[in-house]
């Protein structure tokens, strides 16, 4: 008595928000995706160039020994440390890459929500709303594919 159970339908949960808030979501999503994407690119670049760094470090180490800055056993220790760092430089892309993937997906999710909101907003004309819906669907597709597969690749042969 006194209370009324209101059945919430699925479409009530859809991200219907005003144009201004949806634009904020779009910008926020883009910023997050760009930020994590940049971090991933930096991480990949470090991993790709790890061996060149190792060669420079080894040469510097050998020259330091030849100049008498330290002895043979310090030289050996520095080689071992350089090896460890080199392996970490190659491996860090796995850790950073997975974190970045989560970050990019969160960013893309915000963009999808924003585009869905645009598509559901009757202030836009029919044609624009259809484009927004297609964009939201495409981004959602990208999120789903990159969740289950490592990447989307288009091969031209």
């Amino acid at each position: 008595m006194g209370t009324e159970d209101r059945k919430i339908k699925l479409y009530d949960l859809l991200p219907i928000m005003d144009k201004e808030k949806a634009t904020k979501f779009l910008i926020y999503g883009l910023l997050v995706a760009i930020m994590f994407g940049t971090i991933l690119m930096i991480s990949k670049s470090i991993a790709d160039n790890a061996y060149t760094w190792f060669l420079i470090e080894s040469q510097q180490n050998e020259m330091n020994y030849m100049q008498g800055l330290y002895g043979y056993n310090d030289y050996i220790v520095k080689i071992e440390r350089a090896n460890l760092l080199y392996y970490w430089m190659e491996f860090q892309v796995v850790i950073v890459g997975n974190i970045a993937r989560i970050g990019v997906n969160i960013g893309l999710f915000f963009i999808v929500v924003a585009f869905f909101s645009f598509a559901l907003n009757d202030q836009f004309d029919e044609k624009s709303r259809r484009i927004y819906l297609i964009l939201a669907g495409a981004i959602l597709f990208v999120i789903m594919v990159t969740t289950f597969f490592s990447q989307i690749a288009v091969q031209v042969s």
Partner: protein
């Protein structure tokens, strides 16, 4: 206009980023300064000729080594008529020889490696092992590394107490009894550990601040 919170105030930002930058600067400084710690430096060190006859007269410097800590000795003999021999003894061996005033040359030293630096040879090719070295007969300058024992040119860490022992003779006139040499004794310091710690702390401070700052800007401007 971009909204900010108090965490992003200019003064707070300067303080936090400043602490991060200080850590990044202090790391390499500590790394270089404290990489090796000089525990004894004497130019010249003067001993007497009778240092070869009894351990009580020989130059002896005590050193305690921790696990994975290295002892480095730079010894040279550029003085006329002086000839010196260097050995590294375990504390127990030295104390026994000292109490008996044993002949210094009769006590066997522990194994160490020494490097003869120069371009054109590989580091392994210019490093040798020994348990005693005589200057200037074997060379005028030696860079010695010691950890307790060695296998080939690599050192084995035996943490414990040791003595660096030097004795010598003078080939000059009989009245000249002094034996001179230069010696510089160093041990591995906490430089590397401090370097890594400070760099890690500095990078973490800056990264965490930038992340928190970015999130707070986004929250203040786009997520309300």
């Amino acid at each position: 206009m971009v909204k900010t919170n108090k965490f992003l105030k200019k003064k707070t930002a300067y303080i936090i980023l400043g602490i991060g930058a200080i850590c990044l600067i202090l790391g390499p400084i500590f790394g270089i300064v404290l990489d090796k710690m000089t525990i004894y430096d004497s130019k010249p060190e003067i001993i007497r000729e009778d240092s070869a006859d009894g351990m009580t007269k020989a130059f002896a410097f005590p050193v305690t080594l921790n696990r994975d800590q290295k002892l480095i000795i730079e010894i040279s003999d550029f003085y006329p008529n002086s000839s010196v021999t260097i050995r590294i003894l375990a504390k127990s061996v030295y104390q026994r020889a000292y109490s008996l005033n044993s002949t210094t040359s009769g006590v066997t030293g522990l194994q160490f490696v020494y490097s003869e630096f120069g371009y054109g040879t590989t580091p392994a090719g210019s490093t040798n092992g020994a348990n005693t070295l005589t200057l200037p007969a074997s060379g005028i300058f030696f860079y010695i590394e010691f950890m307790g024992d060695r296998t080939g040119d690599s050192l084995i860490s035996w943490p414990g107490d040791y003595y660096v022992v030097v004795y010598g003779s003078n080939s000059g006139p009989p009245s000249n009894l002094n034996v001179l040499f230069d010696i510089h004794i160093k041990v591995d310091g906490p430089g590397e550990a401090l370097y890594n710690t400070f760099i890690l702390i500095g990078v973490l401070i800056i990264l965490i601040y930038l992340m928190v700052a970015l999130i707070s800007v986004l929250k203040a401007n786009y997520l309300r």
